[in-house]
């Protein structure tokens, strides 16, 4: 079962623009990760944010986490056509329990 819900379900932007996607959840977590999935491929880890962190940066990625609101956001700055993919948040509970969100499908138009 899905533990996280993402919005928007789909997002279409022009190359160079920023893309923001959000993940909301209901359970308590130890940390949260974001993954990317190109069409027909497996998921690839992007970034981890611990439950005691509020913001994390990695290259063009910026992740925020608000545990009081049980939500996280992923911002991709200066998007490129190659960023076209589906993005999933993963909630990490105790004991190596990984549960994925419903995903946001991002299309970056050249």
């Amino acid at each position: 079962s899905q533990q996280g819900e993402e919005d928007p379900q789909a997002l279409s932007i022009q190359e160079g623009e920023n893309a923001t996607m959000n993940c909301s959840y209901k359970t308590s977590i130890n940390n949260l990760q974001w993954y990317r999935q190109n069409s027909g491929r497996g998921l690839v880890h992007l970034i981890l944010i611990r439950s005691n962190e509020r913001e994390k940066h990695s290259g063009r990625l910026r992740v925020t986490l608000d545990t009081s609101k049980k939500s996280s956001s992923l911002l991709i700055t200066a998007s490129r056509a190659a960023d076209t993919a589906s993005y999933f948040c993963a909630l990490i509970l105790t004991g190596n329990q990984f549960y994925f969100g419903t995903g946001t499908s991002l299309t970056v138009i050249p």
């Binding site: 079962s1 027909g40 497996g42 499908s105």
Partner: protein
């Protein structure tokens, strides 16, 4: 180093037929996951192994699905008999474990049940 290897990549079968998927995780990864992914959805956990022990199989439909991880390395997921609703991508992932460990995914096995 090789990543997570899954086979077959694609499988088409008639309903009521059996099917099996195989996964070879990254060497040294003790934790192995099987996920099911329907089109346009996120992965849903089927079963998680710590070494050879299935520690979380609460979402595995045990009437028709079975899994094993002999010797704590390779794993096989079986469906018998397959139903039309089983058409999906079956993803295998492995991890070193720990709360900050990331999952490494295989390319998935796409099943079509006719």
């Amino acid at each position: 180093e090789a990543g997570v290897v899954q086979s077959p990549r694609y499988k088409i079968i008639e309903k009521k037929q059996p099917v099996a998927f195989w996964c070879n995780p990254i060497s040294g990864h003790n934790t192995l996951y099987w996920y099911l992914q329907n089109l346009g959805q996120g992965p849903e956990l089927l079963i998680r192994y710590e070494n050879e022990e299935a520690v979380d199989d609460s979402q595995l439909p045990k009437d028709r699905f079975s899994a094993e991880r002999l010797k704590g390395v390779d794993s096989t997921l079986k469906i018998q008999p397959a139903e039309l609703g089983d058409s999906a991508v079956y993803l295998c992932a492995s991890s070193l474990g720990g709360l900050t460990g990331e999952l490494f995914f295989g390319e998935g096995s796409r099943l079509t049940v006719l």
